[in-house]
Amino acid sequence: MTEETVAEWIGSASSSDLLSLLPEQHPLYTERSTSETTRIRGFALAAFERTGLPDDALPYVLEELESGRDPYLVAAAARALRGRRPDPAFVPFLRKAETNIRAIDAPVTFDVYKPRWPFSNATSAVAEIRKTLASIDPSDDCCTIPSCPSRSRKVIDPNIELEDQDGQTLRFADFFHGKLSVVAFFYTRCDNPEKCSLTITKLARLQQAIERGPLNGQVRIAAITYDPHYDLPHRLRRFGANRGLRFHEDARFFRTPGRFDDLRAAFDLGVNFAGSIVNRHRIELYVLDARGETVATFSRMQFDVDSILAELQSQLSLPPRPRWQPLLASIPTLFLALLPKCPLCLGAYLSALGLGSMQMFLRSPWTIPLTIALLLLHLWVIHRRTRQTRDTTPLALAALGTLALLAGSVLWDVRLAAIAGATLLVAASLFGSRVRSAAQRGIGGRALATAGEK
């Protein structure tokens, strides 16, 4: 498909269609030059001004403003932000973009795709940034845009072959199994100082912070190149050493002497190529557990050393997470739900156990208050979980179930309502046992977390 055809399609695409073009690994970008990739991405980003900018596209836009060095892409990102309600939270990103791009800005236009010079209606990155800044009312309610790691687990083939900066070959598991580790992706020919060079500089700072503190000896540091055929061991060594990395047994840079595609697929790396040349990549750093599985992904936005340190500390303070742990977590709520909380339920349990002769027990005067107390306890447990997960579905189910059970067995004797109530309570317990990170469910946070994965 020619880039002109893609541009024509972009002209009438919806925001969700445009969003689908943003991940670097999209096959559309395979075997296209960096210039072509930049033109397509820029044209797509700018089109969000027309379609509206959805939450999930926001990280791509903010990434471009924070780290972009191409006037066309930065101008397009500034324009895209005008596709949603102006928010003072964007101001720091726009200011950073202006600082980054001012000395390398250029005339651009979005009126036509791949314009010939001279073009009419020229604009520039700085002009677009200032226009977007002017549309923001600083007195608006300001929210911070959290930069949090995403938590999806990726299992990496332990047999992927790696070669380190000294030419030593080993399997992925030889280095990444047995200890917590941090791995960043980069390539030495990256010409954006805000990306690979800065990533490795920060990795060196992280190494120093780790080796000075309580994490010393507990974490391995690594970086793997996107460009394994060019980034031979001597280039890896020089690139790391020039940025302050001190290589040793637990701090190494790698390339894949065999197939890079296996590693690329395992991490779902945000990178694409024209032949052997990287045409576009995102910033990406992973924390891997002692089994070599990813437990946290910092991607797209600039990461800071303190966040990674905090993540490592939190990982080390957690006990090893057995695979059956999520199942175990649901047992207490299930127990509460299945606890007989009404005469009807108790009757059912007793008859099931063959203890029908104890029917008179059901009419004892303390049965009803005990039932109500147990139901309230159950509601309270679910309410506490709701505060963590911000998912109100279990609480709503439990409340409905409680009402139905009380109405069907205590107030009136409606057997169907009581059975429905008991069923709802079990359902509420099962829903409530899902563990989800509250941090990933805010507007910006959710978008950042999901896009980081794309």
């Binding site: 296209r32 030059s33 960096t34 210039s35 072509e36 930049t38 033109r39 066309y72 001012r102 000395a103 390398i104 800005d105 250029a106 005339p107 791949k114 010079w117 001279p118 020229a122 520039s124 700085v126 020919r189 010409d191 055929h229 060019y230 031979l232 024209a274 032949g275 052997s276 040349i277 045409n279």
Partner: protein
């Protein structure tokens, strides 16, 4: 350089007004061409060091793009070169379109290739592969081969060029350097063969030996190879000295031939000498 332009350049480090005047002179097709050239050279210098001009990069790029088709060749070439150094997408596209004959070339092909080489991300690899293989112009094949050093996926083509004894020596030497950069391990055995191949040219043998001397892994430089290079020395230095007689040269004299002739050190002889110094045996 005329005094007016020199004074404007000095002032333009600080003053916007002087900068405005320089822009105006360069952009004015009716102004004296020597003044325009001097003003553009001044802007080239200011672009490196002047904070004032950095704030006006959009204006600078707009002006430079306007000069790309200027009737004065020197102005045109300076502007294109400044844009190419800034990795300007517009000029990269024009240079590539010129090489592919989709548009009138802005500069000659070899120069266009050198300018594109400022940016490995400019998307030139397919064009360079074609030109390195097919261009009838030796200078174009040479520059295209040099740029393929950025592309490990072009290793097979570079081997083809290196192995083609009918190809120009300079192009083959460029392919040797490129291979050492992108396919060192594969190239080392082939380079050793070339060094010892008496049917090959001195230039290619010297280039191969130089590459091995500086970049080969220790496992490639075994005692057998060192001994065979020592034998190359005796014959080739004599041959080189006979073809490089230069009695007026003050350059380094090659000892084995010095008693008969004052000679300029031949390429292969020099490569052998450095190899022996590096690897300590003869």
């Amino acid at each position: 350089m005329n005094e007016l332009i020199a004074s404007l350049i000095r002032r333009a480090y600080q003053e916007e007004e002087a900068l405005d005047q320089l822009f105006a002179i360069v952009s004015d097709p009716s102004a004296d061409v020597l003044q325009r050239r001097a003003a553009l050279e001044g802007l080239r210098e200011l672009a490196i060091a002047s904070r004032v001009l950095k704030e006006r990069n959009v204006q600078l790029i707009t002006m430079l793009r306007g000069l790309v088709e200027d009737p004065d060749q020197e102005l045109r070439e300076t502007a294109i070169s400044m844009l190419a150094q800034r990795k300007d997408e517009f000029v990269q596209r024009r240079l590539l379109d010129g090489l592919e004959r989709r548009e009138e070339p802005l500069v000659d092909d070899a120069q266009a290739i050198v300018l594109l080489g400022n940016d490995i991300h400019a998307g030139f690899i397919p064009t360079m592969r074609r030109l390195a293989k097919e261009s009838p112009d030796q200078a174009v094949r040479l520059e295209a081969t040099k740029l393929l050093a950025a592309d490990p996926a072009s290793a097979d083509l570079l081997f083809e060029i290196f192995d083609d004894k009918g190809e120009d020596d300079e192009v083959r030497r460029a392919s040797a350097s490129a291979l050492m950069s992108v396919a060192r391990e594969r190239f080392e055995p082939r380079a050793k063969e070339a060094v010892l191949d008496e049917d090959d040219t001195e230039q290619v043998r010297a280039a191969s030996l130089t590459a091995l001397t500086h970049f080969a892994g220790p496992e490639q430089i075994d005692s057998d190879f060192i001994a065979r290079v020592a034998n190359v020395d005796t014959d080739q230095v004599r041959a080189a000295s006979l073809t490089n007689v230069d009695t007026s040269s003050s350059e380094r004299i090659v000892a084995p031939a010095a008693d008969a002739f004052k000679v300029r050190e031949g390429d292969l002889a020099k490569a052998v000498r450095i190899f022996k110094e590096r690897h300590g045996r003869s």
